[in-house]
Every structure is written in structure tokens, then in C-alpha cells.
């Protein structure tokens, strides 16, 4: 068996066998699912009931409807309400609608509380109900507008379709933005997480002094590349596990809760219609109408997902991740070889982190103009291109530009591997000496 394969095997297995690897592998999908599920759970299963007092001097807001979470109590005047607010376990807030000094409709309405401010969902519930009552009572009754006309007007919405004139394809740019942002951030994090694993591995071998035993059996270059490849495989394994785990957990979760979601959505719509003063019989008829804009949005998202070339993006992601990782991890290996503690390697690590960090900071700008000159330049410079090109790919990049960028990157990798191997070879056998940039330059010029 080839020696480099033995090194790859060891690097891979020791890392994959670690508890921390599995904790991280399980934790990320769980967090992801939690981010997705907790808000839904809270929205559907909130057990807290808030009691709200309503004092309406105008008579315009005479139709607050209680729900599972919020119960409204009409009170005759503000003094009674204030007394109720002072007592424990009665009402937590007062909606006070004062008679306006002039006109019919009050413009300032106060919500009082004594202990805790009402939660955002309670506030928005109050706001929504008041808007609806205002419409029903003032627009419809005071100004005598026909209810059917009103419904037609408010239910009319506009869908903006941005299309390529030549191909007739839709733009789906918001979808592309999300993909660009997530994937470029993922490459950025992966390069540094796994790059610093390589660096720590090299430092471990150096400070353990096992490296001298190892290099009497194989070439330093084999040792370095074995480690780089082994850690890359660990990274790819983790990616695959993350995707498979989060995918299956989310699918399982969605299927198990499909009923809950549907009910929640229906209930929301019924509440909305009821609050507009629509009778139960009318609701059934209205349901399909109100569904319309919502489903349109959803189908467009699905169309967008189908339309964007995921194959191309996935291949680009893999290539850019692997090349970016190779570029940086070999340099991280060299840094690990010339330092013996985390403290004294910052002068070498810092310059390595700057280029990619710069791209991440510039990502919003690049997304605005994915084919602008800044984006093109950054996606050609090898130290920024793995992330910068990933930002551009979802928006469509000419093939020749991808080819040139990947070509430059590959050539640079050959150069950095050569430089890193040279530094690594000398550095790993040098103990207790602080190394400067001047020293490194000497190593590169002379063959040691």
C-alpha cells in the first residue's frame, strides 16, 4: 500500500472517530431543524393567554374578537380598566380609544400596561383587528362603499415577472441571491475550519516530536499532502452527512406535522375573513380567492428552484471548495510547520485570512453586480476567487471566465504547494526557534 494512502487513512480515521466530529455532525442539522421548527411550534402551540381590556369611547371599535391566545374584555370607562390593570391575574393591557377633539376617527390610540409590555404578536393582533374594524365601520358604513367592490379592490394584487427577452426565462434573482450568499459563506467557513485543522495537525506532529520518526519513513511532501487530502475527505464526509441528515429530518418533520401546518394556515385565513365581518357561509367561497396571491408566490419560488441550474452550481461549488481548500490548507500546513504554539502563529495566519474575509465583507456589493468589474476581478485573483466566483455562479457566468478563473487557481496551487512543501520540510525539524519572514525568504531561495 502506498505510504501516502496510509497517511490519508490515518488522518481520516482519527478525525472521524473523534466524538467532536459526531457532535458537530449531529448538532448542525439539529440546529437547522430547530431554527425551522421552533417558530412554527411557538406560533401554533402557544399556551399563554393574554387578557386585554378595551375602553372604546367612540363606538367605532366595538368588535374585538377573542382568540385562543388573546381574550378581550370591554369595560365601561378607563377608571374601571385601570383598577383591573392594577390587580393581579386580571388584565395585562388596556386599549384606550379616546373620543377625538375634532372629527370622528381618533388618530392616536394608547395601549397601557403596568408590568410587562404586551408581546409583539399581541400588539400586531390588536393593530390588525383595529385596522379591519376601521375599514368595516368607517369605509363601508360611514362612506357607504359597497362591500363587494371593496373586497375586489383589496384583493387585487400585482405579480412582477422579470424575464429574459431572448430566452423568455424568468429571472428569479432573489432565489439566486440566497443561493449565492449561502454557498459562498459555506466555502469561506469550510476553508478556514478545515484549513486550521490541517495547521493544528501539523503543529501536533511537530510539538509531539513524532515528525522526525515519520520523515525517516516517508517524504515530508507525502506526509503533508496525506494530511491535506485526509482532512479534505473529512470535510466532504461532514458535508454529505449534514445534507443527508438535515434533509431527512426536515422531510420527516414536515410529513409528521403536515396536519398542524395546514390547520394553522386555514385557521389564520378564517380568522382574517371573520375579522372583515364576513359570514361563515361566505368564507368557504372566499377561501379560494384569498389563496390566489399566496400560491402564485409559492409556485414562482418552486419554478425558480427548478429553473436554476443546480447541477452547474453543485459542480462549481465542489470544484471551488476543493481548489480553495487546497490553496489555503497547504499554506496553513506551512504555517503549522514553522510555529509551535497558537500564540506565535498569528503573524502568519492573519495575512492568510484577509483576502477571503474581504470577499465576504464585499459579498452584498458583489451580489448587486455579479458581472461588474469588481466581481470579475475578485473572481480571477486566486486568493479571492474560490469565494468570489461562488457568489457569481448562481447568476450565470460565461464558461470561459470560469475556465480562466479555475485555471489561474490551479496554477497558483501548484506554486503554493511548492512553496509550502519547501517551508514545511525545513520547518518541521526546527525546534525552539522563532521564524521570521526574512528567514522564510532565505529557505525559499536556498535549497536546504
Amino acid at each position: 500500500m502506498n505510504k501516502i494512502l496510509l497517511v490519508i487513512q490515518r488522518e481520516y480515521l482519527t478525525r472521524v472517530k473523534k466524538k467532536s466530529f459526531w457532535i458537530l455532525t449531529l448538532l448542525v442539522p439539529i440546529l437547522l431543524v430547530a431554527l425551522y421548527a421552533i417558530p412554527i411550534y411557538l406560533a401554533t402551540n402557544s399556551l399563554e393567554v393574554t387578557h386585554v381590556a378595551v375602553v372604546d369611547e367612540t363606538g367605532l371599535y366595538n368588535d374585538f374578537r377573542s382568540s385562543d391566545n388573546v381574550v378581550y374584555h370591554y369595560m365601561a370607562d378607563i377608571d374601571i380598566a385601570q383598577k383591573a390593570l392594577g390587580k393581579a391575574d386580571t388584565v395585562e393591557a388596556i386599549v384606550y380609544v379616546q373620543k377625538p377633539k375634532s372629527g370622528i376617527v381618533p388618530t392616536e390610540i394608547f395601549v397601557y400596561y403596568s408590568k410587562d409590555a404586551p408581546s409583539p404578536s399581541v400588539k400586531s393582533g390588536i393593530d390588525k383587528q383595529m385596522q379591519d374594524m376601521l375599514r368595516n365601520n368607517i369605509l363601508l358604513d360611514v362612506y357607504n362603499i359597497n362591500r363587494e367592490d371593496y373586497e375586489k379592490i383589496t384583493n387585487t394584487s400585482v405579480n412582477l415577472h422579470v424575464q429574459d427577452l431572448d430566452t423568455g426565462e424568468s429571472d428569479f434573482s432573489s432565489m439566486r441571491m440566497v443561493i449565492a450568499f449561502v454557498l459562498s459563506l459555506l466555502i469561506y467557513m469550510a476553508i478556514f475550519i478545515f484549513g486550521s485543522q490541517v495547521m493544528r495537525g501539523v503543529m501536533e506532529e511537530k510539538t509531539n516530536r513524532i515528525v522526525e520518526v515519520l520523515v525517516s519513513s516517508l517524504k515530508p511532501f507525502q506526509l503533508m499532502m496525506g494530511k491535506v487530502v485526509g482532512v479534505a475527505l473529512v470535510g466532504l464526509t461532514q458535508f454529505v452527512l449534514w445534507i443527508v441528515l438535515s434533509g431527512s429530518i426536515i422531510t420527516a418533520f414536515t410529513i409528521a406535522n403536515a396536519d398542524t401546518f395546514d390547520k394553522a394556515r386555514q385557521q389564520e385565513q378564517i380568522d382574517m375573513l371573520k375579522s372583515r365581518g364576513v359570514s361563515v357561509e361566505q368564507i368557504a367561497a372566499e377561501m379560494s380567492d384569498t389563496d390566489m396571491p399566496d400560491t402564485d408566490m409559492q409556485t414562482e419560488m418552486v419554478q425558480g428552484l427548478l429553473h436554476i441550474q443546480f447541477g452547474v452550481i453543485a459542480v462549481a461549488f465542489l470544484i471551488l471548495f476543493i481548489l480553495g481548500y487546497l490553496l489555503y490548507s497547504t499554506l496553513f500546513a506551512a504555517v503549522g510547520a514553522i510555529t509551535e504554539s497558537e500564540q506565535d502563529n498569528s503573524q502568519f495566519v492573519l495575512p492568510l485570512t484577509v483576502p477571503l474575509l474581504l470577499v465576504i465583507i464585499l459579498t452584498p456589493t458583489l451580489i448587486e453586480a455579479p458581472n461588474g468589474s469588481l466581481a470579475i476581478w475578485l473572481s480571477m485573483i486566486p486568493f479571492t476567487s474560490p469565494v468570489a466566483m461562488m457568489v457569481r455562479v448562481p447568476f450565470g457566468v460565461p464558461i470561459w471566465q470560469i475556465a480562466v478563473s479555475v485555471g489561474i487557481l490551479a496554477l497558483t496551487i501548484l506554486l503554493t504547494v511548492w512553496v509550502a512543501a519547501k517551508i514545511y520540510r525545513t520547518g518541521i525539524l526546527l525546534y525552539g526557534k522563532k521564524i521570521t519572514y526574512k528567514e522564510l525568504w532565505k529557505w525559499l531561495r536556498f535549497n536546504n
Binding site: E204, N208, R209, L214, S216
Partner: protein
């Protein structure tokens, strides 16, 4: 027959010469002591033999062939700066290092089990290295060094970190390996162990070989014509003929001890004759210099002559 030879090896690091025209040879089945003060260039030479670094000029021969990658599996190296992966299990780690030396999985495991049995450490197999004491780790390291049954073994300061019992065990193992036909290159500062183990020595000082040869011959060539004599107790000073000087004279209740030095013109027999006339000789023995004395004398005089040369240059 020489197993290992270096011929006119030179090596410089940016501006500093680590090895200058170094030629050494190790006879097959013997122990060669590689001696020298710190910074003399021993480690550089050992690294060149292990192909960790390459010489600038000169060559290294292994069994008559030019040293190449294929010889790696025939060399075992225990470096001075040594260690193991702390988090890895002992057995797993030993397997890994053995397979890097070219052993198959099957052979590596079989031999490791045998060695673990020999050292009675079978229950260490599944322990992590960090759970072992330093001395225990050294044992594991020793096993890994010799496991692939190399023809050439290189030990760099092997006794550092060993307690006396383990150091003795190690010494016996080295001699056993030698008796089984292995050639050993042995670098150390411990001169007592050199006398016990080494057949030949090479002394390197300031990048150059300053002394080399068989231990017995070297000792012989460094003898100073000094003799220890024990005789029946006599009172007062003993006067000797011309050419014999008394270096010291001590006595206890029964014996008088003399340390005598003779001129080059005289032989030990002349001294003995002269003694017999004067005292009743009980024992008579030539004093040979210890390796320690030879080391210090050679290095000091070499340094002095170099300083003198440098002064002349200026």
C-alpha cells in the same frame, strides 16, 4: 564488510557548514559510536543517513549501493527528539508506524504481538499513549524502531529519559540485536555506555571527523605509559632510576599504591625489573585512558589548534 559508509559528505545551511568532508563507515554486525559535543553535526549526519535531508556533496553507501528510497525499510531510527501521537491508541499507532516502514498489516500485527509479549505489555495495546508514563512510551518507541527488523539501526541518545532499569533493558536489547546480525549506529554523550557497547567510534567536532577507529586501538594509542602498582607496605619514599617518575603514592595498613609513569625509552618490563629490586610487587596494571578522557582531550586540543589556525589566518 561495511554496511554503511559515507564518503566526503558536505552539508551547509545558509552560510554555516554543518558537515565538512565527513567519511565514516560502520562494519556489518558491529556497534559504531557516533560521538561529539553538542552542535558538532551528529544529528545532521544521522538525518542524511535517514534521507531526511540530502548532502550538498559526497555520497552515502548502503551495503555497497548508493543510498536510495528502497533502503528506508532496512533502516530503523530512534531520534533524539522523539514522540508519539498522544491521543492515538498504542497498538493502532505502532501498526501505523510499522506499515509506513513497509510491513504488511498481517506481519506488523504478528510481530507487534510478539514484542508486546516479550516486554510484558500486552494490556497496553488499547491504551492511549497519553495514559502511559514517559518510560513506557520510550519502550513502545523502541519496539516501533526495531519491529521491521532493519539491517541498520540508528539510536540517537537512546538512554535519555530511561530509568536505570529500563536503560539496562535497552542496552541488553541493543546487544542482542547486534548478536542477531544488525549493525548499530549509536550516538550518545554517555561515555560509559560507549565503552560497554561500542566496537568502533567516530568522533566529530566542529563539522569534521577528528578521531575514528576501533575502541581498543584508540585506547591503546592514547595510553600514557602510566601504571598502577600495588606492593607490600613500605615506609618512606621510594627512589626510582632515571625515566621513571612517581605520580602519586598512597598507602593503607597493608599496601602501598603507586602511580608511575615511564619514558618512551623504557618498556613496561624495565619498570617491572626496577620495581622488583625495590618493593614486593602484588599487582601491576597499565592504566588505559577512559573514553571520557579521550573525548575531552581530543576535543579540547582540536579546538585549541583551530583557534590557533584562525589566529594565524588573521
Amino acid at each position: 564488510m561495511e554496511l554503511l559508509a559515507t564518503e566526503n559528505v558536505e552539508k551547509s545551511y545558509s552560510g554555516y557548514k554543518a558537515l565538512d568532508d565527513v567519511s565514516i563507515s560502520a562494519r556489518e554486525g558491529t556497534v559504531l559510536g557516533l560521538l561529539g559535543p553538542n552542535g558538532a553535526g551528529k544529528t545532521t549526519l544521522i538525518r542524511i543517513i535517514n534521507q531526511i535531508t540530502a548532502p550538498d556533496s559526497g555520497c552515502v553507501l548502503f551495503g555497497g549501493e548508493r543510498l536510495s528510497q528502497k533502503h528506508i525499510s532496512q533502516i530503523g531510527y530512534l531520534p533524539e527528539e522523539r514522540g508519539l501521537y498522544k491521543k492515538m491508541k498504542v497498538g493502532e499507532q505502532a501498526m501505523y508506524l510499522a506499515r509506513l516502514k513497509g510491513l504488511t498489516k498481517y506481519d506488523a500485527e504478528k510481530r507487534l504481538r510478539q514484542w508486546f509479549e516479550r516486554f510484558e505489555i500486552q494490556d497496553w495495546w488499547n491504551k492511549k499513549v497519553e495514559e502511559l508514563s514517559k518510560g513506557m512510551q520510550q519502550k513502545v518507541q523502541f519496539i516501533v524502531t526495531v519491529l521491521h527488523e532493519p539491517r541498520l539501526l540508528i539510536f540517537d541518545e537512546p538512554f535519555s529519559g530511561f530509568d536505570p532499569i529500563n536503560a539496562n533493558l535497552l542496552k541488553e536489547e541493543i546487544l542482542r540485536l547486534k548478536n542477531n546480525g544488525a549493525t548499530v549506529v549509536f550516538s550518545t554523550h554517555n561515555m560509559a555506555s560507549v565503552e560497554e557497547i561500542c566496537d568502533d567510534i567516530v568522533l566529530i567536532n566542529k563539522s569534521r571527523v577528528v578521531l575514528s577507529g576501533r575502541v581498543n586501538n584508540i585506547k591503546n594509542s592514547f595510553r600514557k605509559n602510566i601504571f598502577d602498582v600495588r606492593c607490600r607496605k613500605t615506609d618512606g619514599e621510594i627512589a626510582f632510576a632515571y625515566g621513571i617518575s612517581v605520580l602519586s603514592q598512597t598507602a593503607d595498613e597493608l599496601n602501598t599504591f603507586l602511580k608511575l609513569k615511564i619514558d618512551n625509552t623504557l618498556s613496561p618490563n624495565d619498570l617491572l625489573r626496577s620495581l622488583v629490586d625495590r618493593v614486593e610487587v602484588l599487582s601491576f596494571q597499565e592504566v588505559l585512558p577512559s573514553m571520557n578522557e579521550i573525548f575531552i582531550e581530543t576535543v579540547t586540543s582540536n579546538n585549541q589548534s583551530q583557534t590557533a589556525e584562525n589566529k594565524e589566518d588573521i
